[in-house]
């Protein structure tokens, strides 16, 4: 059969797959490529830069592969044939050094971006940062606002333009805390506190989830980050404080029991130092959360 037809068939398959995928994906939200926060924005730019830099080297390789394979096909007796030619100092020097130089460029970018976008590094901003403590449970997310003394489950309101210092731990197997449109992602581990600094630049609802398998109800472990104006945020906090439901230590113990697809819930108050207590539990075995202390927020 004609080889050219086969080559064409191959290119059509390649194209067909891409068109099919693009058609199916059309109109969907490519969250990682559609950032709504400063960190996610920088990460997206980095991704695009890396992809373009890689394309510079990859596309010629694709072309060379098929050009060389086709030109030197056995049937083409006109092409040169040098069965013993197996070494060229110049050529080999080129393909050791050119990729190496590209990698050096990318390494500099890597080094700088690793420091600039270090999740543990506080963000530069004129606005006062907001601390939110995140606890991964089986299988839901608890968000504690230590300065506002309120708490939520499976949703996390945040003010736009304000650096958020997420302090993250787990009272469950290891999870990973990820809000793709704001920037990702850091592990939630029991007995430890990790940090993720994010800043939402636009009002909106952004999906967050756990990215690391944590047992039965893992798939239901997603939440919504509500980015709202600072005024709306303050209003939300004030409203929440008026709710009749407070989170007592006993409530927490119950909440920490395994459960699937929990509804979004808000609590008007939290026990003091709940987050630290949860971490300390794994450092001092046998320690049990106090169940009697019923703390009302706002009077501390």
């Amino acid at each position: 059969m004609n080889r050219k037809i086969k080559l064409l068939a191959f290119l059509l398959i390649l194209l067909g797959v891409l068109v099919l995928v693009a058609a199916v994906a059309y109109g969907s939200n490519m969250q990682v490529l559609n950032p709504k926060g400063t960190i996610a924005h920088s990460q997206r730019n980095l991704l695009v830069f890396g992809a373009i830099l890689s394309a510079v080297i990859v596309l010629p390789v694709f072309w060379m592969t098929f050009h060389i394979a086709w030109k030197y096909r056995a049937e083409n007796k006109e092409a040169r044939y040098t069965p013993d030619w197996d070494h060229s100092r110049i050529a080999e020097t080129v393909w050791w050094t050119v990729p190496l130089m590209l990698i050096v460029v990318l390494s500099v970018v890597t080094w700088r971006s690793s420091h600039d976008l270090d999740p543990f590094k506080p963000l530069q901003s004129t606005a006062k940062p907001l601390t939110i403590q995140v606890v991964a449970l089986q299988w839901k997310w608890l968000f504690i606002y230590p300065d506002q003394h309120v708490a939520t489950v499976n949703f996390v309101p945040i003010p736009v333009g304000t650096p958020i210092d997420f302090q993250i731990t787990s009272d469950a197997p290891m999870n990973s805390f990820w809000i793709p449109q704001l920037g990702g992602q850091i592990y939630a581990m029991s007995g430890m506190s990790t940090h993720l600094h994010l800043l939402a630049s636009e009002v909106g609802d952004y999906r967050g989830s756990s990215a690391n398998i944590s047992g039965d109800g893992f798939a239901g472990m997603h939440f919504t980050a509500h980015a709202m104006s600072p005024a709306d945020f303050d209003a939300w906090v004030a409203d929440t404080k008026l709710l009749p439901t407070a989170l007592s230590a006993a409530d927490y113990a119950q909440l920490a029991e395994p459960s699937d697809n929990n509804p979004q819930t808000a609590y008007a108050a939290t026990p003091p130092n709940l987050y630290d207590t949860i971490i300390a539990k794994y450092m001092t075995p046998g320690h049990i959360l106090p169940t009697s202390a019923h703390h009302h927020g706002g009077d501390e």
Partner: protein
């Protein structure tokens, strides 16, 4: 004990879910049919004498590959179930599997594909061709080789046994991170099955690695210097060195997890001073080298295939060797890139990110050298070459996505997403598996004496290639949409379903490719008389294995060849055509190891030990362990382990081979 007795009475019933029931029926039904068939054909003696107890590395290699392909079917069916679940479990519908079943299925899929498919194909290829490529009659330790195979088979048996006895496997993901894999969160026997099947197969891998390293170092044909070895052998050295350094880490890590679970220790528990982060570090200190253990030999296969089918010397041999050495070293200093998200800090993350990218340099060098091997050659587009060209496309794509993920700041946005899943499947299918298939097609005639049907081989390739793109390009896009891996359910509003359906179709197309491969094997066997490889050299080969008859006799070479440079056979054919013709060489007696079933028994005892520990039946564990020790002592005190093929017999076999060649 109280746990053991009621559960051991395996009540095979649909109570455990339709799919587990189906799998149980398949295992039992398939086993019964196989036994009946062998009995009907009166093949038990043949099977026992020619295969199961054989110490011939070629036979052992074939057994590795047959078992790996059976496991490929199981792992592939797991993949199909996963995609079926994800295509149906949207919004109000919850699909065909419960979340616990789904999690067991993806854990089994990953575990089986890496440990029992990829590793099986790898050791299968090593066994088939390494002695032939270096002009040796055998491996250094034939009995240990058989034991390694049976330990691998024992691990595979144990993983399948989990379906029958206990009806559960780990639901933790294929690397079973604690604390999820600790007793606190996984109290059943699933994780224990996972631990002990890997532990037993892993010891086999380590023994095999040592065996082949010694074989290559000590048993090369006279005159073959290290820098004159076929490149596949160099790639095998890289892979083996990694096995020898990495597998003890796996064994130690699994042992510690087993101690936690079985004896209540606290290496990796969340409380009482345990540290799960240590486990994550250790498992990847094995896990990253493992990737290169699999892919380096694929590079080696392509180096042989491209040179042979371009009828040209491999370009940049020294570069290739240094690239392998570089990759081997670097693959030990990049493990942390599997968990940039654990919060190690900017300096540490950046260091491991840069080290990871540096690997792209030697890998790229290899690609360029292959391209320049074709340059000014005479390229024949046989099936192995198709696998190579497909590999260049997929592997480069995987390389690019790999370099992107090596930047920690980018990794934070794609880690544990389907983008990552797509990336490593690109590397393992588009890298290692394509390479193994190319190698199997290429060396098939040397082992069986006839070539495989080309037409069906091409059909299989195109299905695999198209199916691969359909199955994994959508996953890259899904990752960009924020889809994490291992989800058994998601909301309809996310718009992920269409892509999951496309990915599912891709798995079906790959399945069609597997059907073509099975068909290819059946048709090729049926038509073998038409495609007999009477010359011993069907591809106009370059290396020593093509200088002996096909199928290669049990002793590989009647007269050990002398080597004076690279591409030894090619040079012989070119410069001394009279040597390959009619002169009758001087034959001598050849010493060959006798058959033995002891390796099988040792692995059986090891399995018994593992099984007993899983179920906490201590007296049985003691018997298993004692069995291993006693059987080893029996072997060590056996003297007559070899027999002699007299020179006259060698002459007779060789004369028959020459006759075939002339006919």
């Amino acid at each position: 004990m109280h746990l053991f007795l009621p559960t051991l009475v395996a009540h095979i019933s649909p109570d455990h879910g339709l799919f587990i029931f189906g799998a149980e029926l398949t295992i039992i039904g398939g086993g019964v049919i196989l036994v009946a068939l062998i009995t009907y054909l009166k093949r038990w003696k043949w099977l026992w004498k020619e295969w199961l107890t054989s110490l011939d590395p070629k036979r052992i290699g074939v057994m590795y590959i047959v078992l790996a392909l059976v496991m490929l079917l199981r792992g592939g069916f797991d993949a199909l179930m996963m995609r079926a679940q994800q295509a149906t479990s949207v919004g109000a519908s919850h699909g065909i599997l419960s979340s616990d079943q789904f999690q067991q299925v993806f854990t089994a899929h990953g575990t089986i594909m890496i440990f029992f498919v990829a590793m099986g194909l790898l050791f299968g290829l090593f066994n088939l061709v390494i002695p032939l490529l270096i002009g040796s009659r055998d491996v250094a330790f034939p009995f240990m080789n058989s034991t390694s195979f049976w330990l691998y088979a024992g691990g595979a048996a144990l993983i399948n046994l989990s379906l029958l006895v206990g009806h559960q496997f780990a639901a933790t993901g294929w690397l079973a991170y604690p604390p999820l894999s600790e007793l606190q969160y996984s109290p059943g026997v699933g994780v224990d099955y996972w631990i002990w099947s890997l532990q037993i197969a892993g010891v086999g891998s380590l023994l095999s690695g040592i065996n082949f390293l010694v074989t290559i170092i000590k048993m090369r044909a006279p005159g073959m210097k290290l820098m004159q070895m076929p490149l596949f052998v160099w790639s095998a050295i890289g892979s083996i060195v990694l096995i020898i350094f990495a597998f003890p880490i796996l064994t130690a890590t699994l042992s510690m997890l087993a101690l936690d679970r079985t004896l209540g220790m606290h290496f990796f528990t969340s409380a009482f001073g345990g540290n799960p982060m240590m486990y994550v570090n250790l498992i990847w200190a094995w896990g990253h080298p493992e990737v290169y253990i699999l892919v380096l030999p694929a590079f080696g296969v392509f180096s042989e295939v491209v040179a042979t089918f371009s009828s040209k010397r491999l370009f940049g041999y020294a570069s290739m060797v240094w690239a392998i050495a570089g990759i081997t070293f670097l693959s030990f200093v990049v493990w942390l890139h599997h968990f940039f998200t654990m919060g190690a800090g900017a300096n540490v993350n950046a260091f491991f990110g840069v080290m990871t990218m540096v690997i792209a340099v030697p890998t790229g060098v290899k690609v360029f050298n292959w391209l320049f091997t074709m340059y000014r050659g005479r390229v024949r587009f046989t099936t192995p070459m198709l696998w190579f060209l497909g590999f260049v496309v997929t592997f480069t794509l995987g390389g690019v996505t790999g370099v992107l993920m090596a930047v920690p700041a980018i990794d934070f946005q794609v880690h544990n997403s389907l983008f990552l899943v797509a990336h490593f499947h690109t590397m393992i299918i588009g890298g290692a598996v394509f390479g193994f298939f190319a190698g199997l097609t290429y060396w098939f005639p040397k082992i069986f004496g006839f070539t495989l049907n080309e037409r069906l081989g091409r059909a299989a390739f195109w299905c695999w290639f198209t199916g691969f793109l359909l199955a994994f390009v959508p996953l890259y896009v899904l990752g960009m949409m924020g889809a994490t891996r291992r989800l058994d359910h998601y909301d309809a509003s996310l718009g992920w379903r269409g892509l999951f359906v496309v990915a599912g179709i891709g798995v079906l197309v790959i399945g069609l490719g597997v059907c073509f491969q099975v068909l290819q094997l059946v048709v090729s066997i049926a038509q073998r008389h038409k495609h007999l490889d009477t010359s011993g050299d069907p591809w106009d080969g370059r290396t020593l294995e093509w200088s002996t008859t096909s199928p290669a006799p049990v002793y590989n070479f009647a007269v050990i060849p002398e080597v004076h440079g690279r591409d030894a056979f090619w040079e012989t054919k070119r410069h001394k055509p009279e040597l390959s013709a009619e002169s009758t060489p001087h034959y001598t007696d050849i010493v060959v190891p006798k058959n033995t079933a002891l390796g099988m028994y040792i692995a059986g005892a090891a399995c018994l030990f593992g099984f007993a520990v899983i179920w906490h039946v201590w007296w049985l564990a003691a018997i298993g362990l004692l069995g291993v020790i006693v059987l080893l002592l029996v072997r060590l005190t056996t003297d007559a382990t070899e027999y002699v093929i007299p020179a006259a017999e060698v002459a007779r076999i060789e004369a028959a081979g020459r006759e075939r060649r002339l006919a």
